[in-house]
């Protein structure tokens, strides 16, 4: 039973003093699923994701990632996940290749594997001409796709993306999502937070977080009919107004 879900959370809670940032959230994510974690800024998405990846200890509740417990097995979890933060976490003063090699080294890949991976990523992102440029010189959209590729350099089972597409136009977001689809089609589970409602439509299932609680959870289509809305923006607005 334990390994049925990629991610399972039961009443997961995080308190900072009197303030409850994440209030008893429960959800399951199946293997290979693209799970959208929606909410306005400050709704508690980043805090929730930090608990799931072992950067933050839950105040109460339970969660397992790839079957491992978030309290006692964080080391095992770390081996099976990739993470891309909203700051997209590349070294701006290093070149594209240096970044890939470094993260490959961090995950202990062999020299041969790092070489293969570098070539693969560069080809996939059409970065041939820019491989030796420092990351700071790349356009934002490219940086984000590179960050995603780097987060999955060790072929993790689950990839956590925290607001991966902040600050770019819808066309660039679309390109990013094509990468997500491609990755998910290989059986990788994607957990993605966003506050762009158009992105919600791309997910298999979504949850909507308001003030630390999950107020809605389901397939985008199902949620739209449940809230009698024509698009996700409307669902979200109805929820936010209470």
């Amino acid at each position: 039973m334990k390994n049925e879900y990629a991610i399972q959370a039961i009443d997961l809670t995080k308190k900072f003093g009197d303030f409850t940032a994440v209030d008893a959230i429960s959800f399951d994510v199946e293997k290979g699923e693209i799970f959208g974690f929606l909410g306005a800024n400050g709704a508690g998405k980043t805090t929730a994701i930090k608990m799931l990846i072992g950067l933050s200890k839950p105040s109460s509740g339970q969660a397992t990632i790839a079957g491992y417990d978030v309290y006692s097995q964080t080391e095992l979890i770390k081996e099976h996940i990739g993470y891309m933060s909203q700051k997209f976490s590349l070294y701006e003063d290093l070149t594209v290749l240096q970044n890939i090699r470094f993260y490959g080294g961090v995950y202990g890949l062999s020299r041969k594997r790092i070489k293969e991976k570098s070539a693969e990523i560069i080809e996939r992102l059409n970065l041939e001409a820019n491989a030796r440029k420092v990351v700071a010189d790349l356009p934002l959209g490219w940086k984000q796709r590179l960050a995603f590729a780097v987060a999955s350099v060790h072929d993790p089972a689950i990839i956590f993306l925290d607001e991966p597409t902040g600050g770019v136009d819808p066309a660039t977001r679309r390109q990013f999502w094509e990468m997500i689809y491609e990755t998910a089609s290989r059986g990788v589970t994607i957990f993605v937070t966003t506050h762009y409602m158009d992105e919600a439509e791309y997910c298999d299932r979504i949850s909507i977080m308001v003030d630390g609680k999950i107020e809605a959870l389901g397939k985008p289509g199902a949620l739209k009919s449940q809230f009698e809305a024509s698009h996700m923006e409307e669902v979200f607005l109805k929820l936010a107004r209470g």
Partner: protein, 369 residues
């Protein structure tokens, strides 16, 4: 494990090499500091401006004046007629030391009754004033001895001064050890705290913490390049001291370098500890300044002697690592001391290293609360 470590060191080297500012601090600062200290912080003086009121105008007074000015330490810039004129020169800042030779100097002096020479100095710069009057008094005493070579005064106590380890009172003997202590502290501690804070600021630290890497390895990978660079810096400063300022290493060079490394570790541990307490480069910078730079400059005995500080500051100086390191450096370099002589300060540094590393380890947050 090793592969990851190498990847880390490589990456850190890329950062350092690509950042001109870091490079400048790393290699420009030590050289600048040595040169600045070398040519400014010094007790030696040459050509101090002297005004002499010669009320005697006789042979003997002229001989005395010649002796004083021939040394090169004093330069006769004024010969005012009276004390009032001399004071005006003091006020204008033209004269730092005034010498007043009384009327009939030769007559009383040779007549055995003795005479009085007055030395007046501008004590708005107290250290300089003391140095000048001491030096002038010494020269006048010598002059007296020369005039009566055989006839010793029966009641005089002969004082023989010997300046051990640094007979010529070379300033560099003091500041080279001090500069090494300062540079190692600055570079190791400040640079490591900055580089770790930078990863926190850019969010890359989160990524490293999410990876299966052991946090100890993350820190080790980050600080190792700085250990190497700081050590090279120490060598450069020692070499400059030796080549430019003739500062010797009379004891064992190997022992000196081994203790350099120990001091470096203390500085690194401090840097890591600071970085655990700061989330931005700016905070890390400010904390390094207050916690490291100022105390190391002021309380280590580098610039101001610890013995003349008030009790509370003397007490605080006991926790300044640089104080012990400077003691060690001077013992090995100038006194040629061996292992036994420096065991205690070395032990203190070793203890500091363990305490600081333990504190840093405890404070380094792998998991946010």
């Amino acid at each position: 494990m090793l592969k990851t470590f190498i990847a880390f060191v490589k990456k850190e080297m890329y950062h350092i090499l690509r950042d001109v500012r870091t490079l400048l601090i790393l290699f420009g600062m030590p050289i600048a500091l040595v040169l600045i200290f070398g040519y400014t912080v010094t007790n030696e003086f040459k050509g101090a401006s002297v005004g002499i009121v010669d009320q005697a105008q006789d042979d003997l007074s002229r001989q005395l004046i010649t002796k004083l000015t021939a040394s090169g330490h004093f330069e006769l810039v004024r010969k005012p007629h009276n004390i009032e004129a001399l004071e005006a020169d003091f006020r204008a800042g033209d004269v730092k030391l005034g010498i007043i030779i009384p009327p009939d100097f030769e007559k009383y002096f040779l007549g055995g009754e003795g005479s009085t020479i007055q030395l007046i100095s501008d004590a708005t710069e107290p250290n300089y004033a003391v140095t000048l009057t001491n030096y002038a008094s010494q020269m006048i005493r010598d002059f007296q001895q020369e005039q009566f070579p055989t006839e010793q005064m029966p009641y005089a106590v002969a004082i023989e001064n010997r300046m051990f380890y640094n007979p010529e009172l070379v300033g560099a003997y003091n500041f080279i050890p001090g500069v090494v202590a300062l540079i190692l502290m600055l570079i190791s501690a400040m640079m490591t705290s900055l580089t770790i804070a930078r990863e926190k600021e850019s969010g890359t630290m989160d990524l490293l913490l999410v990876s299966p890497l052991n946090p100890v390895l993350i820190i080790l990978g980050k600080v190792t390049p700085y250990v190497v660079l700081s050590f090279i810096n120490a060598l450069v400063v020692f070499a400059m001291g030796w080549l430019i300022f003739d500062v010797p290493v009379r004891g064992s060079l190997a022992l000196l370098l081994a203790l350099c490394l120990l001091y470096l570790m203390v500085a690194l541990a401090l840097g890591i500890l600071i970085s655990t307490r700061s989330d931005s480069q700016q905070t890390a910078m400010m904390m390094s300044m207050f916690v490291l730079l100022m105390p190391t400059m002021l309380l280590s005995g580098f610039i101001f002697p610890i013995a003349s500080m008030p009790a509370i500051l003397q007490f605080i100086s006991k926790i300044i690592p640089a104080k012990y390191f400077i003691l060690i450096e001077k013992a090995i370099m100038l006194k040629g001391a061996g292992w036994e002589a420096i065991a205690i300060p070395a032990g203190v540094l070793l203890l500091m290293m363990f305490v600081l590393l333990a504190a840093a380890r405890k404070n380094f947050k792998v998991v946010y609360d």
